[in-house]
């Protein structure tokens, strides 16, 4: 693979190319989910700072739902990443996804309770 990538003067471009080349589609799919959550969180935080934090409980639950979902998705990513296979011998990818789904459902339960 390294033979494919051209030595580039731009480190960002080389990072991007290397990411594109070396990451499996599944992980890219999780990454796009993470990016979406991050953007959603940033938008809510900006709204809170720039416009209003009232009602504060709605802000907390909306913002923490993105943060919590981000944390759960990030842990799913590290558990299904083949590069971490040695660290998570006990955890199969299916098990990791089940944990992720259960955690998310509990998270959303709390978020909607706190939202109104």
């Amino acid at each position: 693979m390294s033979s494919k990538s051209q030595p580039s003067s731009n480190p960002m471009a080389s990072l991007w190319n290397s990411y594109n080349d070396q990451t499996s589609n599944r992980l890219k799919f999780i990454d796009s989910f993470l990016v979406y959550l991050m953007l959603s969180g940033i938008v809510q935080f900006a709204y809170c700072v720039l416009v209003t934090s009232f009602p504060y409980n709605a802000f907390l639950s909306g913002f923490s739902s993105t943060v919590g979902q981000f944390v759960l998705a990030a842990s799913l990513r590290s558990q299904v990443n083949p590069a971490n296979k040695d660290e998570f011998k006990e955890v199969s990818p299916e098990r990791a996804f089940a944990d992720f789904a259960l955690g998310s459902i509990v998270l959303h339960f709390f978020v909607y309770n706190f939202l109104g």
Partner: protein
């Protein structure tokens, strides 16, 4: 016709009976502890009490009965100790402890002192009154007169004490003064003249030098001047009233009638009347009939208020009217205050009288933005007046879960954020599982291909 006249006469006599019945707000039984030999000396004073409707029982200063307190219940509404010289008043019963107990039981007491030291002298200091050393009566050589320097005409300034109601002529006084301590419960009634002092009489072995010595020591041990009291009242926190008279002589018939140096009649009778009227809870007696609190524009009293509620608090206050023998609505208090406290007063506001409804005081205020257990407190303590205290506990709670506004337009970005996160989670899960299935099929194909 005849019967109507009789009825009218009956009604009149009934009204008369009503008008002379006791005017005290706490009862009409009086125990007078007096030396039987000297009882006749006080006849005008005691007859005056009887005429005002008091039911007087006499007890010899040497007798042990009737008891002041029996089975922890006071036998009399008021007690007058008119035997200042007795070393040992009636044996075991009349002790400083018992007098304090009487006051706690809301019995009112008039104590007369004398230059001789008695068991009651030590009690005076419990009431923040400091008595001069034994055998040092109040002395004044002014104005020039024929009487002994210990028999002093004291002028009574108008309105010098809330207890004294009207203009009173100078009174004859003979006895000891009291220095007044710092207690706010003291109600000074009559002060000593500025040129008077307490000391031993020169004719009885005393000397002016002791006074000079005291003055040289910066006033230490000096008993002189108008800061001394000769008649001093004291109202306990529980509402009992006690009045200390520097001497019993001022209540005698002799001094009730003795002409002043300028030939006019003395004010002793008027002063005695005012003193007994105050001490026996006829004058300056207030009470709170009821308190009421509710939310503005409603009438129902609540145990629970929500933060920032607008609350109306009202109190009905009555004053004892001794001439009508009944409680009357009193709208005259200008400086009444209401406190809304949780340890500290969060709100302290004036409680003004409501124009048009006598005796009613009302104020409306916003509850603080703080939840907890609060009290409405009225605490009105004015010198001479009976103390008003009322405390009503209510809870102030945050709004209930359905007491808040919901689905505010300002919060839509947060709602949208939370909903879109959920939708994204479901989409992600669905696609992930679909991808899983495809992968496993791919894997199977790959395996077959191998």
């Amino acid at each position: 016709m005849f019967s109507i006249r009789r009825f009218c006469l009956l009604a009149l006599s009934l009204a008369h009976v009503w008008s002379v019945t006791a005017k005290s707000s706490t009862g009409d039984s009086v125990l007078v502890v007096v030396d039987p030999k000297r009882q006749a000396q006080y006849s005008q004073f005691l007859d005056g009490l009887k005429d005002r409707g008091y039911d007087i029982t006499f007890r010899s200063s040497k007798a042990e009965k009737p008891l002041l307190i029996e089975d922890d219940v006071p036998n009399y509404a008021h007690v007058i100790l008119l035997a200042p010289e007795s070393k040992n008043l009636g044996g075991k019963d009349i002790t400083p402890q018992n007098i304090v107990e009487l006051l706690n039981l809301k019995t009112n007491v008039i104590v007369t002192l004398s230059p001789a030291q008695t068991s009651l002298s030590s009690l005076a200091s419990e009431f923040s009154l400091i008595l001069p050393p034994p055998a040092s009566p109040l002395i004044s050589y002014f104005p020039k007169r024929d009487e002994s320097p210990t028999l002093i005409p004291i002028s009574v300034p108008d309105k010098s004490s809330p207890v004294l109601t009207k203009h009173i002529a100078p009174v004859w006084f003979s006895g000891i003064p009291q220095a007044l301590g710092n207690s706010p419960l003291i109600v000074p009634i009559l002060k000593a003249p500025a040129e008077s002092f307490a000391g031993e009489l020169l004719t009885q072995g005393g000397s002016a030098e002791s006074l000079v010595d005291a003055a040289d020591k910066g006033g230490e041990g000096l008993w002189a001047g108008s800061s001394l009291g000769v008649v001093t009242g004291f109202q306990t926190a529980s509402g009992g009233r006690i009045t200390w008279l520097g001497g019993a002589d001022m209540l005698t018939d002799e001094l009730f009638q003795k002409s002043l140096p300028d030939g006019s009649k003395p004010g002793n009778a008027d002063l005695a009347r005012d003193i007994t009227a105050w001490t026996f809870q006829e004058e300056l007696v207030l009470r709170i009939d009821q308190v009421n609190h509710h939310i503005v524009n409603t009438t129902i009293s609540k145990e629970l208020y929500t933060i920032n509620d607008n609350i109306v608090f009202s109190a009905d206050i009555s004053k004892w009217n001794p001439s009508e023998n009944k409680w009357e609505a009193c709208s005259g208090l200008k400086d009444l205050q209401l406190e809304f406290t949780m340890l500290d007063p969060f709100i302290r506001t004036a409680l003004p009288p409501v124009p048009g409804s006598p005796g009613k005081y009302s104020v409306s205020f916003r509850a603080p933005d703080r939840h907890g257990v609060f009290k409405f407190v009225i605490d009105y303590k004015r010198r001479g007046w009976s103390f008003l205290h009322s405390s009503t506990t209510v809870a102030v709670v945050p709004p209930r879960h359905d007491g808040y506004p919901r689905f505010l337009s300002a919060a839509w970005p947060y709602y949208a954020g939370a909903i879109s996160t959920s939708i994204a989670f479901f989409l992600f899960s669905a696609l992930w599982l679909a991808g899983d299935a495809r992968d496993s099929r791919k894997g199977q194909k790959g395996a077959k291909a191998q």
